[in-house]
Amino acid sequence: MRILQVNDLSLSFGGLNVIDRLSFDVEDGSIVSLIGPNGAGKTSVFNCLTGFYRANSGEIRFLDKSVTKLKPHKITQKGMARTFQNLRLFKQMTVLENVMSGMHCRTHAGALGAVLRNARQCREEAHIRSVAEECLDFVGILGLKDRMARNLPYGDQRRVEWARALATRPRLLLFDEPAAGLNYDEKERLMRLIRRIREELNITIFLIEHDMGLVMRISEKVVVIDYGKKIAEGGCDAVQCDPKVIEAYLGREDEEGMADERNGP
């Protein structure tokens, strides 16, 4: 079954085509990566999928229903969670409170329940807490639950964000550059964690990543985009040998100077 289908998606800002008639699928239970040079439009694709950008045309189907025009919170409710490229934690709150935010869309207590603190509301609070603690335990930082989020080291802040996304009880998890800023050991742990999320929690993984070693080791399928267009899709080996991909990353031999300029040092 295809959990996510993107058909002919286009997005432009003014005259700039950020995403250009992009189509691809994500199979249920797979680990898929979206790669491309800097500025290729990867994060824009994520923002369209999660409802932060409204695509100009095309359709996004999630679990066989169109989510193209839904607001971000509705999409999360339907089971698609994301992490952000630059950490977006609730910095002044504790780690546990951060992760509890994920359960918001799965619970219902309102103002009256809060004031009366009735049995149902208490049960729900206990449930939110226990799910949040489970998620923290899953990513291995349960011991830090009462620390203030802003005081954690960077690697642990990343893990808080993963736990928070897990707490929304997703079917599909979008990771935006999860390995950015992590050291070698942390990357190894991240890879094990991603596999465990898929195997133990049965969650499909779709990620953007620049670390090619990590992408090639973990993904079952890779989608490559450049200038918002899909230039290749398939297994790791096939994509790595694709001349178009090599060109996008390294440039053609006769315009090496330009390629250097584009990809930076």
Partner: protein
């Protein structure tokens, strides 16, 4: 100063210590009418009234992080509901409270619905406009509100046959209102809803990505804040027995907001300290004459420079 703060933190970390101080404060507040004169009671009753308003605005500004410059509008809705229903339709005072709650909710939804889609500065401007609109409507709906001269002859509430007419009656009425407002604020703050407000305040996009409907959550804060002001407005009308549109000027909204910022946004004890400081400062320094407002202004500016988080300290890590 820092050392003292540290020691206080350690002291208040213990639940039993907190309970003890809270109990003593309540006891002192209950006993004051036995010794205080009516001047003191009048000032304290007024402070209690502002504490309730501050706690209400704190839900909007402190918890949800929305800058509201027209809060007096909701206070006006409550006061006019009681005023009109008792003086023109002869309702019992107590029955006007549910009506005021109802109209406050309606007003909150009408004002909040379209404006809460806006972000920060724009929201402040629009709420400022709505605050003024409410006051001008009250001045011009002559048949209902009595126009610029306002309403007189509002029924005083009575309690089991005792008409509440003395200042110490109102002292206790507003004191109970304060306790109720603190209780509701505290429960809201430590709930799913309270956390959602804080998520939206800290990072709207991240909150939205976590499945939180940011417009609905803000509207919730706005409406609950409106209900606080509406109920306070009922008792204000009952105590004064006369109200006029000039009570609900922009200065009123600004004063409440000032107390909230002064005390420390988002903190319940901060609201109490802020409202008390706001009301007591001009009274205590009455001797230095009209210059006292200038001094008060200077103190506020100094506060914002040296302690922008407000009088009450931040929670520790």
């Amino acid at each position: 100063m820092a050392g003292l703060e540290e020691r206080l933190f350690v002291f208040f970390d213990k639940r039993s210590h907190r309970r003890l101080v809270q109990g003593l404060l309540v006891l002192v507040a209950v006993l004051i009418p036995l010794v205080g004169d009516s001047y003191l009671l009048e000032i304290l009753t007024n402070s209690f009234f502002y504490i309730v308003l501050c706690l209400g605005l704190n839900i909007v500004v402190g918890y949800a992080g929305l800058l509201d410059l027209g809060y007096a509008a909701f206070f006006a809705v409550g006061a006019y509901t009681t005023g009109i229903l008792t003086s023109q339709f002869d309702w019992n005072f107590w029955l006007t409270i549910p009506a005021a709650v109802f109209f406050s909710i309606i007003a909150g939804v009408i004002i909040g619905g379209p404006t809460l889609r806006l972000r920060s500065d724009y929201l402040a401007i629009v709420t400022l406009g709505f605050g003024e609109i409410t006051r001008i409507v009250a001045r011009n709906l002559k048949e209902l509100t009595g126009g610029a001269s306002g309403l007189i002859g509002i029924n005083r509430p009575s309690f089991f046959g005792l008409e509440l007419s003395q200042i110490h009656h109102y002292y206790y009425v507003f004191f109970i209102l304060v306790l109720l407002a603190i209780f509701v604020s505290f429960r809201l703050q430590h709930s799913r809803l309270g956390r959602a407000w804080q998520y939206v305040r800290e990072d709207e996009d991240a909150a939205e990505a976590m499945g939180i409907n940011r417009v609905a959550i803000k509207l919730y804060a706005y409406v609950i804040g409106a209900v606080f002001a509406g109920v306070a407005g009922c008792f204000f009308a009952g105590k004064m027995t006369a109200i006029s549109p000039e009570t609900f000027q922009f200065m009123q909204s600004a004063t409440i907001l000032m107390a909230v910022v002064l005390g420390g946004m988002g903190k319940i004890p901060g609201m109490i300290v802020g409202a008390l400081a706001l009301i007591l400062f001009p009274e205590v320094f009455r001797e230095i004459g009209s210059i006292r407002m200038l001094v008060f202004g200077l103190v506020l500016v100094m506060m914002m420079i040296f302690r922008p988080q407000g009088i009450w300290p931040e929670r520790r890590n």
